[in-house]
Symmetry: C2
Subunit: 338 residues, 2 copies
């Protein structure tokens, strides 16, 4: 009989939690006991898993006894409160929040990029932000061949990035606008249906929002390259699921686009989607539910001799969050780091 | 009695044609006779103007007799066929299509940028592409103070850029998706409701689409600066009206962001929309129906010492097309170039 692992999911009812459960089943994760934990508010509710019904327990100090792996997606403050306790109890925690990402002793991992960073874990491993994961998967294969000097990114982020309630709000708003009404936003700060706005994460002192600074700082940490220069403009768009990014890459020397295409056509976690004749490239509806990051529109940048342009779409609930976390867990098992 | 001008609108029934009529009325254009011309198909229909009903005439060789100004928005092939005839008959034609834009003897004008280029007209003046106009209005005030070296732009273009039928298609698709159906696109090549895709204009040899190359070539021509380096990624988004652009500007030397803000706060045709505390910046719903290009999120680029980031939204039917054309006509009158 092969080894199984006791898993606790902290925050099982949200968009990412739901996807975590689906992925554990779909990927035939070597699951022993599975516990689903949530706040007092959700405790007692039941959720479905692999044909069974699981009762949600409220998290407490003994929730992590005999748990091997915690997959946390309940927000930063919940992670800060409970993951140190879980780690102390002997579990390895994979955290979807931003709470621990930039702490120097916490590995920040995209399995296709820096799996070896997992070795140094001290009980908590951070899952990067969605836009960062998608970007990292798409461009790291190029960075390995020739280091990237500078990235200029613009994102097109779907409503699901703000959670299941934001997705619902966009649908409700859309229906209301189609009836000629003027709906008031409740979850998001401004109307998103048939509209868009710069990402509503808090503004930092340099006038970049936190979402943008995550792309900057997390990419550097994951790549282990503090010299890479990054600027980003993050924007929410009325797409239900899957984020897109327009990415301008500058290298230290020219990077031939045919070589880049060849590299990305075999890169793990990347699917090249390009039909120039049909003007068919990655789209959110095609990326939704996919494990791979769809990459296309590779072009030699006509504005800079060392530039390349690319376009990507990825399911930010899946590879941008839940899948990456499950892959980290699989990595820990494969490398006997647990 | 003040002087009036006989105006013919070629292509009066489309999204831009409708806006042209509204603007002539709204701006109290010194209008003499107004004729509305269209293809055989639309001839005989009636449209409303200033409380009257105008009968659409099919365009023919004598349509331009005694016409002072032709405002054309009926597509490139119609413009190519009829504008040389109209110009020969003595009219000054302001063309919204791309047919003549890059011809060296045809001025390409954004009145806030290069009004003096109108002097050399030979009967045809081209109105630039929508994304180019919005970009030019927003960044020229900075370029005047310190020349821009390179632009990296990513666009968020609304359905109306593909015409009134595309706007309608997005609404119909949205309603169908909300009912759980899977609608097939007819006007646009791919579903746009709750989705987005790289701009569907024809691909050129360098893998940039025509829309992107318009931004590159037209901006250079309007600025009279062939050295300015430009790259763009153009994307259609499920917004009904008004385009947005994330613009990264590189100058030859550092450009202080406070100085840039001061310049843009008084620039003609620009409205600075920035509330960093409320995370409130330009949005398509706020730009719709506005004459000004809304600019915000001015930031010192953290990835380049000479860089600035900015975000803009503009009504591409209005300033991006119809309004710019009417402003060119007003400019011709003001400078006695007609």
């Amino acid at each position: 009989m092969s080894k199984t692992y006791s898993v606790a999911i902290l925050g099982a009812t949200g968009a990412v939690g739901t996807e975590l459960l689906a992925l554990l089943e779909e990927r035939k994760f070597p699951l022993g006991k599975l516990s689903v934990l949530a706040s007092e508010r959700s405790a007692g509710k039941e959720i479905e898993f692999a044909g069974d019904r699981l009762r949600i327990e409220s998290v407490n100090a003994s929730s992590f006894d005999d748990v091997d792996i915690v997959l946390a997606s309940a927000g930063g403050s919940t992670s800060k409160e409970w993951l140190p306790i879980a780690a102390k109890a002997g579990a390895v925690c994979i955290d979807n929040s931003s709470a621990f990402r930039m702490q120097s002793h916490v590995p920040l991992i995209v399995p296709e990029v820096n799996p070896e960073a997992a070795i140094a874990h001290q009980g908590i491993i951070a899952n990067p932000n969605c836009t960062t994961i998608l970007l990292a998967v798409a461009i790291y294969p190029l960075h390995q061949v020739q280091p990237i000097k500078r990235i200029v990114a613009a994102t097109y982020q779907s409503a699901s990035g703000a959670g299941a309630r934001a997705m619902e709000e966009v649908k409700i708003q859309s229906a209301a606008i189609l009836k000629g009404e003027t709906p008031q936003p409740e979850v998001l700060p401004y109307p998103l249906a048939f509209n868009l706005f710069p990402h509503n994460s808090p503004m930092t002192a340099n006038s970049y929002c936190e979402e943008e600074m995550k792309m900057v700082n997390e990419t550097r940490k994951i790549f282990g390259d503090s010299n890479i220069q990054i600027t980003a403009t993050c924007v929410r768009v009325p797409v239900l699921r899957a984020h897109s990014e327009a990415v301008n890459l500058e290298f230290h020397q020219p990077f031939d686009v045919h070589k880049a295409r060849e590299i990305l056509s075999t890169a793990v976690g990347v699917k090249l989607v390009e039909d120039f004749d049909k003007n068919y490239f990655p789209m959110p509806i095609d990326a939704s539910g996919q494990d791979d990051v769809l990459v296309g529109r590779l072009r030699q940048d006509i504005s800079h001799p060392n530039g390349l342009e690319l376009w990507l779409c990825g399911d930010q609930i899946r590879k941008g969050a839940a899948l990456n976390a499950v892959q980290i867990a699989e990595l820990l098992i494969a490398k006997s780091l647990i």
